[in-house]
């Protein structure tokens, strides 16, 4: 009888109590399931109008076109800008400008992430609308 009491007691202490661990894991799982779809981020770009109006074909002299050239070179309205100076240059352009529109024209040979870098810098300089010029 003392044996049975002993063995029962030792069984109890041997069995690890995993319930709190499972609780914590389930909560973590739910938190991750909530966070992952919420954390998506993107840069919005305006696509060109597929049926442009004839009067729109005239180039607006006031527009800003940021070009991304091969070998990590950048140009704003054809004027070359160093990569390091890009943000400062865009800021000086867009701080006094009421219309925060930029056209980002990437060279076809450059890597996609350099174009995203340029768009990112433009947003950082206060640009609200990023347009992709028609090909």
């Amino acid at each position: 009888m003392s044996m049975s009491a002993d063995s029962g007691g030792s069984n109890l202490s041997n069995d690890m109590n995993v319930t709190p661990m499972i609780d914590v894991l389930l909560v973590l799982l739910i938190i991750f399931m909530m966070i992952i779809p919420m954390s998506r981020k993107a840069i919005d770009t305006q696509l060109p109008d597929p049926n442009p109006q004839p009067q729109n074909s005239q180039v607006n002299p006031d527009q800003i076109v940021l070009e991304i050239l091969p070998d990590d070179k950048y140009a704003i309205n054809k004027e070359p800008v160093e990569k390091a100076a890009l943000l400062a240059r865009l800021k000086t352009i867009y701080d006094p400008r009421p219309e925060k529109i930029i056209f980002v024209k990437g060279d076809t040979m450059v890597a996609y992430h350099t174009v995203i870098f340029a768009m990112d810098q433009a947003r950082g300089a206060g640009v609200k609308v990023i347009g992709i010029p028609p090909k």
Binding site: M1, S4, A5, G8, G9, N11, L12, N17, V18, T19, I22, P37, M38, S39, R40, K41, A42, I43, D44, T45, Q46, L47, P48, D49, P50, I68, G106, D107, T108, M109, V110, A111, Y112, H113, T114, V115, I116, F117, M119, D120, Q121, R123, G124, I132, P134, K135
Partner: protein, 157 residues
């Protein structure tokens, strides 16, 4: 002796969680096996940026994936490049909400491939392309409106 009996009662009160753990582990393994097959083939590492706009996922979002080879995936299903325009047109002709499409392209992709896809989307009735970008680690958007959106995701749309 009375003590030992009560100890026995304590053992019974605790539910046996071992089968539940077994089931959950099996479920975990099943999900680990099936999830890569659901996204079969579509692998793209989006570029990183800092000043990004939060876009919490919403029912009905359309996502165009472009992998490192330049292949298209419409909502994770592989699509032939020449079929993309007709498929996207079908979706956006009847869509009354924003004409926005998410584009998740591989970071090292040649820009020609991306611009080509954007051009197809523009011709298919998409007005805004949201280029999916990952927040660079340790950075935060410097734009006030992005932070506001980030703190209350429900106000995003």
């Amino acid at each position: 002796m009375g003590m030992s009996v009560s100890g026995g009662g304590g053992v019974k009160a605790e539910p046996n969680v071992t089968p539940m753990i077994d089931v959950m582990l099996v479920l975990l393994i099943i999900f680990m096996i099936t999830i890569p097959q659901i996204n079969a083939g579509f692998k793209a590492v989006p570029p990183e940026g800092q000043n990004l706009k939060p876009h919490p996922e919403v029912e009905g979002d359309q996502v165009l994936g472009i992998d490192s080879e330049g292949r298209y995936y419409l909502n994770k299903r592989p699509v032939r490049n020449e079929d993309l325009e007709t498929l996207v047109k079908q979706i956006y002709e009847t869509r009354t909400e924003d004409k926005i499409m998410y584009v998740k392209a591989h970071r090292e992709l040649q820009y020609l491939k991306v611009v080509d896809a954007l051009d197809r989307l523009a011709r298919s009735g998409v007005a805004v392309a949201a280029l999916i970008t990952e927040q660079a680690p340790g950075t935060e958007s410097l734009i006030e409106s992005d932070k506001l959106l980030g703190s209350k995701p429900s106000g995003g749309q």
